[in-house]
């Protein structure tokens, strides 16, 4: 993948990457924004997942819970990707060589697939169980899997810090 390699070294050599890498303040500041955004992503998704599991907010319909919470999740996700992207370009080669970084991306990808499959499978039947305190097995599975995946994302994120010393 020579094109990919060229892109990575271009990003890493950019003035932006240089600024993040060299500044004593910029890196921890962006890192803080990243942690903040991930906290909101994970915490808000958990609230939706617990509803899908039939554990919390059982007196509200699933659609009402998702409508109320997911806008926050998506806004936070955009901020997490933006801040994460800035951290990534500052040391792109090192991050790509870190197993926990790759694992984190894979887990986020799987979480996305889990969500897409859930929407594809449940969209047709959701009107039938929207108000049910305990949604059907497929919904509960999606919720449970989502919780585990996002715990994995946070764990990988923390492990990146211990297995990679940013220069």
């Amino acid at each position: 993948m020579p094109l990919f390699g060229a892109l990575i070294s271009y990003l890493e050599g950019s003035a932006l990457a240089d600024a993040v890498r060299e500044s004593d303040l910029l890196f921890p500041l962006i890192e803080s924004v990243h942690v903040l955004a991930i906290c909101l992503v994970v915490g808000s998704i958990l609230a939706v997942d617990l509803r899908l599991l039939g554990v919390a907010s059982r007196n509200l319909s699933v659609s009402r819970v998702t409508r109320g919470i997911l806008p926050l999740t998506w806004c936070a996700f955009v901020v997490a990707v933006g801040s994460g992207g800035l951290l990534f370009v500052s040391n792109a080669t090192k991050y790509l060589g870190n197993g926990f970084f790759i694992a984190k991306l894979v887990l986020i990808g799987v979480a996305g697939i889990n969500m897409a499959v859930f929407h594809a499978v449940s969209a047709r039947t959701q009107p039938h169980w929207d108000n049910a305190a305990r949604p059907p097995l497929s919904a509960r599975l999606a919720g449970g899997l989502s919780i585990l995946l996002w715990i994995g994302v946070v764990a990988c994120g923390r492990w990146i810090g211990f297995t990679m010393r940013a220069s």
């Binding site: 903040l36 909101l40 958990l46 926050l72 946070v154 211990f162």
Partner: protein, 167 residues
């Protein structure tokens, strides 16, 4: 004098068998940090969802008191997990926190956040519609919501900066 005492305390903690175990097994500190961050994620998101409802940004179709009843009570058992994982992290690396101003800023902000949460819970429990009664009260509620978001952002920034300000 306080600093000397904290220095002695750090030295003593670092010499305990528990601290030794935490330092030697490489997986313990990142695991504790992961649980700690996940707990912060739930607390911050809970506060954020209530604050956004107070500002009528999300969940407008659910009364403030209902949103608060869903998200605020779990705060208290979670604070216990926060305290346990946080304390173990201090025992593992006492100087990192106890001799670090950023840590005390974080604790002060946490105290403020918990006071604000308790106040909100109490206000809504004693008068569920307290918020909507007058313009002044609405303003008070909205100010408290903004303050709460700012304090939680401060807690997360301080948490990340502990790693960068240790002596």
């Amino acid at each position: 004098m306080i600093e000397a005492a904290l220095n002695d305390l750090s030295k003593w903690l670092a010499g305990t068998a528990l601290s030794n175990t935490i330092q030697t097994a490489a997986w313990i500190i990142p695991t504790l940090q992961t649980i700690h961050i996940l707990t912060v994620a739930v607390l911050f998101s809970s506060a954020m969802l209530v604050d956004l409802r107070i500002w009528r940004v999300t969940q407008r179709d659910v009364p403030v008191a209902d949103v608060a009843r869903r998200f605020l009570p779990p705060v208290w058992p979670l604070v216990l997990i926060l305290a346990v994982t946080g304390s173990l992290l201090i025992v593992g690396e006492p100087r990192r926190s106890l001799l670090n101003d950023t840590f005390y800023i974080k604790m002060a902000l946490l105290a403020a956040a918990l006071l604000l949460t308790a106040g909100l819970q109490w206000a809504l429990a004693s008068a569920p519609d307290a918020w909507e009664k007058s313009g002044a009260r609405r303003l008070a509620g909205r100010s408290a919501a903004v303050l709460s978001i700012l304090i939680w952002c401060g807690i997360i920034f301080a948490g990340r900066f502990i790693a960068y300000t240790q002596v």
